[in-house]
Symmetry: D2
Subunit: 137 residues, 4 copies
């Protein structure tokens, strides 16, 4: 079981008031959880700059009518095989597909995968959701 450690923090009264207001608007029920999240966000940013393994999502938007597009996307995904865990596919409208890959690997490799998919003609956009494996936080 995870062991909790308790320690004291001192804050300017006015800053604490602003903080309480801010975390209420984000639906936090206590300060510790909000502070844990700020700490973890900072650590995950660091993982993406310097870490060995990260996880997250790549959201692709493309027009599936483009010739050869789907084959090219599959080819690239196979080249980066080890860092794609699974994918889901949504038909946004008659033309546009949203495909979301769950990814895990080194930050450089995940970034390169995202760049390579975006470079394919017919892919309109690619957005990286930079998260974590959760192992170290």
């Amino acid at each position: 079981m995870t062991q909790l450690v308790r320690f004291g923090v001192s804050l300017e009264k006015e800053l604490l008031g602003k903080f309480d207001q801010r975390i209420r608007s984000k639906n936090y029920t206590n300060r510790s959880e909000a502070l844990r999240d700020l700490i973890r966000e900072d650590l995950v940013r660091k993982e993406w700059q310097e870490g060995k393994e990260v996880a997250g999502s790549i959201a692709l938007v493309y027009d599936h009518h483009k010739r050869e597009l789907v084959n090219k996307l599959l080819d690239i995904q196979h080249d980066f095989g080890t860092c794609i865990i699974s994918s889901q596919h949504i038909h946004i409208d008659h033309n546009n597909c949203l495909e979301i890959l769950a990814v895990k690997g080194s930050p450089e490799k995940v970034q390169r995968l995202s760049d390579s998919l975006k470079a394919v003609k017919g892919v309109k956009h690619s957005a990286l959701g930079m998260s974590t494996t959760g192992k170290d936080i």
Copy 2:
């Protein structure tokens, strides 16, 4: 069918050299596609600042052993029902789950959904992948 328009662009020779080098490293095969992507990235940033409807992904990492966590996440997802399209779930390791929601809706609502999920105790991280429905680009 989409109509293509052609126009001329002038660039400093040195800048063009740098650009060509950069897009080769991102696997682009021609300049037009690389410029289209820069333009669309700029437009999608604008959609998230001022637009009516965006699409993308929310990646959540959580420890599924936490009591009541999964029920709370489901409750919140039902409250925001109309903007969650589907989700996929990955068992990262014995403790950590990666859950990825495909989302569509107003930028404010999607952001609030991401904040509310992150605020739940046991959720270690939440990352928004900011993409587009592709309708206007």
Copy 3:
């Protein structure tokens, strides 16, 4: 004088270890100051999204040999007069100038000023340093 309030925070032992390591590498001498900074960073991001008044810097890089460039920059700066406090000018090399404006005003106006300056031919880059007046934090 500012009144300090003290309260307890509980953290997973492992997360606390990671946090302590991270703040040492950033040269913090105590946890409270590091947490205050994470809180204030979050509040300042909010000020730029929703606030009435922010402060910061606009760094411009331009080639001063371009005809009419300096006059155009001055014209724009006068149009946005109330939100520019002062500026400093650095000769980076024979061609390139770095000009840094200290700015204060609504987030929209500061952003528009930065966009307008960047749009001038000969301005190679413009970077917004998003900070705060410090009044509310």
Copy 4:
């Protein structure tokens, strides 16, 4: 003199319409300048990730009443001497100062300088304006 190269770009008609609308709202007078800026922004992001030398600004906000604060800031600035070019100082109100450093150096060193200044007790915020020396673009 800088040599200009001209080449053709093809764009979907609808995307071109959106682009023209967007650049008008940012005050561009022609497409080439807007495209040059998107290209340079992309290259400068790359410089900050992998480059040898960048330039920009560090905006600090602090309460000058804090004991020893100003001396500590000066000590740190001297430690990082070679990468600080000059600074300007603004009295925001009775309590708050805005100090803006013009900086040049390796991305890592500039980031460490910004982190170290922010870690000083009494410094409320520090914002990095990530720009360029302009030499390679």
